[in-house]
């Protein structure tokens, strides 16, 4: 269970001190992976709340923000703000303790309430610059691990250029009855000229990638393709449309998809991907 693990990790981190060895950095990355709001703060009250929308309990504490290390752009959180934190365990933090808090957003109103994933007491006072660097490095580790896992799942990884975009012609036998809905993906096909076959492909090859052309909200986060677009593409065998094959120049070829945000990366990410593939 992640909360328990997080506590153990936090304890590990607190015992290890700084600079953190690789195991501590790994533990920190585990916390970062589950967090979207990370800040250094000082506990000002326990069993209390800073916003009226949250009931006080033995798991709620008020923390004064000393430095924000990571947060979504939408969230208004600045040094000096008081944040309500629902801790993993009651009594785990005392007033006056300064720590790095790894959290997820919980309630957003007149103030911010977050749920603790874990915390890293470190030495007090926490050296903000050091901690900022450590969290940033952990975030890079997390991103690399996510990308590596994604690469491993991909059938093909290529750097290339979109030569053509056309409506997808899905095989009639596999196609579902035509449904008129605002959520219709409006499948399109991008023909990509492979310039660099990084995994499962060769330079000069052409591949067909299906993507939703629909502007509907259901597909808002899904990568779209345009003629002339260059990039590094992580391609997956098409198991979504129900029609696994397409045509190029009269030849039947496998169709692929790239539906995750990590499936379409800048062209200059190709060396990073090669490096991740080689990395044990």
């Amino acid at each position: 269970m992640y909360t328990r693990s997080a506590v153990l990790l936090a304890v590990t981190l607190s015992l290890l001190g700084s600079p953190a060895p690789a195991s501590a950095q790994g533990a920190r990355a585990a916390l970062v992976k589950q967090s979207d709001i990370i800040f250094i703060g000082t506990v000002t009250k326990v069993g209390a709340v800073a916003v009226p929308e949250v009931p006080a309990s033995d798991r709620t504490i008020v923390v004064r923000v000393d430095q924000v290390l990571e947060k979504p752009a939408a969230v208004a959180l600045t040094p000096g703000d008081s944040v309500t934190v629902q801790t993993v365990r009651p009594g785990s933090l005392k007033a006056g303790t300064q720590a790095t808090f790894y959290t997820t957003g919980w309630i957003f109103g007149r103030g911010v309430a977050v749920r603790e994933v874990g915390h890293e007491p470190g030495r007090s006072p926490v050296v903000a610059a050091v901690q900022q660097q450590a969290v940033a490095r952990a975030r890079l580790d997390v991103n690399d691990a996510d990308l590596k896992a994604h690469i491993q799942k991909a059938a093909m990884v290529v750097a290339g250029r979109v030569e053509q975009v056309r409506p997808a012609e899905l095989a009639a036998a596999a196609a579902r009855p035509k449904r008129i809905t605002e959520h219709d993906p409006n499948w399109q096909e991008a023909i990509i000229q492979v310039q660099d076959g990084i995994k499962g492909a060769q330079a000069g090859q052409q591949v067909v990638v299906r993507f939703p052309g629909s502007p509907d909200v259901a597909w808002v986060g899904t990568p779209k393709f345009a003629v002339g677009q260059e990039g590094t593409f992580l391609l997956h065998v098409d198991s979504t449309t129900g029609s696994p094959l397409s045509m190029i120049a009269g030849r039947s070829v496998p169709a692929y998809t790239a539906l995750h945000r990590l499936d379409v990366l800048p062209k200059q990410d190709a060396p990073r991907i090669r490096s991740l593939i080689r990395k044990p």
């Binding site: 979207d36 208004a76 009855p177 809905t181």
Partner: protein, 478 residues
């Protein structure tokens, strides 16, 4: 003296009302307009479209609202948010309690008989299955409980009523797995969502499916009306449709529900309110950056179920893009008026009837053209079938900015409800903090600077204009 604009609607003029710009009416006493985005999300720039509202009759302080607002934590978050208010709509908080990854692909909701129970119908991300959800306490941070789920549906639309201690839940939806292309469906629960039964309400032939909007309305005597589009044929992107209303006189509790209103033309269940209308189906920016094709609303006088109103939008063909029509029945749907209101280049019509019988019509209309076009959001009230009506402009904002991030731009629907002596509703609009955009006044929770018309983030830096949801309340005509 209360400032009020009464528009005397001469029938001919009403029928050909053009979307010409005109000076907004004077400020009406007692109107509130509140931007829902809380101060702690002042940096928010998302397109918070398609808002919806749920109210508790027993506790006027409690409200729930939704929009296509994402979990601020990002698209990988396991939950999506709803807004809640515990002070009658003056302030709102965002809580991540919906079991959907980051955001939903559709959401509506309605309250249970005992506050703070809340029912929701969502299209869950990823995969977009229907999730029929319940929260015993919507103020709780706990994730809403899944009661039923299935794939291949569209636009779940939730209404509720209480019978004794049990909540009855009616979720109109377009069920693509329904047999014979008769996809208009109401999922009915007579036991607080513990079990649902899918009731097919289309009895005529279709082009292979019905339109996506299936809208229930429930009266206190348990009469349930449902409006839907009977899609009959298609030419290109234009669908030829009937506007149909079915009725059930016992809360859809019988074995063959929604069969109590027959059409005299074919004696089949489902009164044909309008026939052979042209629905322009467009999933592209078509009207003020908005898509069109599914505007449909129904409201019943909760205390007098004989009285029921329907609104829909189609293309008349007089150079219009999309035209809203409003009609009324005073005999339980047996006969219907002609158009009481005809609103050119309008969409997102919502209806409600207050306890004193006043009808409310919320709609959003594009005025002007090109870069000077505006989305005008109005609430009209009438005591006489819209022969006369009070007209309140809630917002008049640029329609060309901001550029759409996705569709719907402002929503395939918005929300209007009545409680006591108030119409309460929600709409989405350009959030520029400019007082002239909100003739009735506006309250922002998020940081703004009215003199410079700027949105500000937590550190005081400028934030880009976007689409926000706005709650409003308007006093019912006495």
């Amino acid at each position: 003296m209360r400032a009020r604009v009464i528009v005397v609607a001469v029938a001919v003029c009403v029928a050909c009302e053009a979307p010409v710009p005109h000076a907004p009416p004077a400020k009406l006493t007692g109107v509130r307009v509140v931007d829902l985005i809380p101060v702690s999300l002042s940096g928010e720039t998302w397109q918070d479209a398609e808002p919806f509202l749920a109210l508790y009759a027993a506790n006027p302080q409690l409200m729930a609202a939704s929009a296509f607002t994402p979990n601020p934590g990002g698209s990988a978050s396991a939950t999506a948010p709803i807004f809640v208010s515990d002070d009658g709509g003056d302030s709102w908080t965002l809580r991540n309690t919906l079991p959907s990854q980051g955001m939903t692909a559709d959401i509506t909701h309605a309250v249970g008989g005992n506050p703070p129970v809340l029912y929701a119908g969502i299209m869950k991300v990823p995969g977009f299955p229907l999730n029929e959800l319940k929260a015993s306490d919507f103020l709780s941070p706990a994730t809403m409980m899944l009661q039923s789920s299935r794939a291949d549906i569209d636009q779940p639309f939730v209404r509720t009523t209480g019978v004794g201690s049990a909540d009855r839940v009616y979720i109109g939806l377009n069920d693509f797995d329904a047999p014979d292309g008769r996809t208009a469906t109401v999922d009915v629960s007579l036991n607080g969502g513990a079990t649902y039964t899918s009731r097919r309400i289309e009895t005529r032939g279709t082009l292979g499916q019905n339109g996506p909007s299936i809208r229930p309305a429930v009266a206190q005597d348990h009469t349930v009306y449902v409006a839907y589009f009977g899609w009959r044929s298609q030419t290109g992107s234009d669908v030829t449709s009937d506007v149909v209303v079915v009725r059930d006189d016992s809360g859809a509790s019988g074995a063959t529900p929604f069969r109590d209103l027959l059409d005299p033309s074919d004696h089949l269940p489902g009164r044909l309110v309008a026939t052979h209308v042209t629905i322009p189906w467009s999933n592209a920016p078509t009207l003020g950056q908005e898509r069109i094709g599914s505007t449909l609303a129904i409201a019943v006088d909760a205390l007098h179920s004989d009285n029921v109103y329907v609104a829909w939008a189609d293309r008349v063909g007089t150079g219009d893009i999309y035209t809203v029509h409003v009609r009324r029945s005073t005999d339980r749907g047996a006969t219907w008026s002609g158009d009481l209101r005809t609103l050119t280049n309008a969409t997102d019509a919502s209806l409600a009837v207050s306890t004193n019988g006043t009808a409310g019509l919320l709609y959003q209309q594009v005025t002007g053209t090109g870069s000077t076009s505006r989305w005008v959001t109005r609430l009209e009230q009438s005591r006489d079938g819209f022969a006369t009506h009070q007209d309140v402009v809630l917002a008049t904002v640029p329609a060309a900015t901001p550029t759409f991030q996705f569709l719907p731009y402002i929503g395939d629907y918005n929300g209007l409800l009545a409680r006591g002596n108030q119409f309460l509703g929600i709409f989405s609009a350009n959030n520029t903090p400019d007082s002239t955009n909100f003739p009735q006044g506006v309250v922002y929770q998020r940081r703004v600077d009215f003199p410079t018309h700027r949105l500000l983030d937590g550190s005081g830096a400028a934030v880009a204009v976007s689409i926000d949801p706005f709650f409003f309340s308007v006093p019912v005509l006495p």
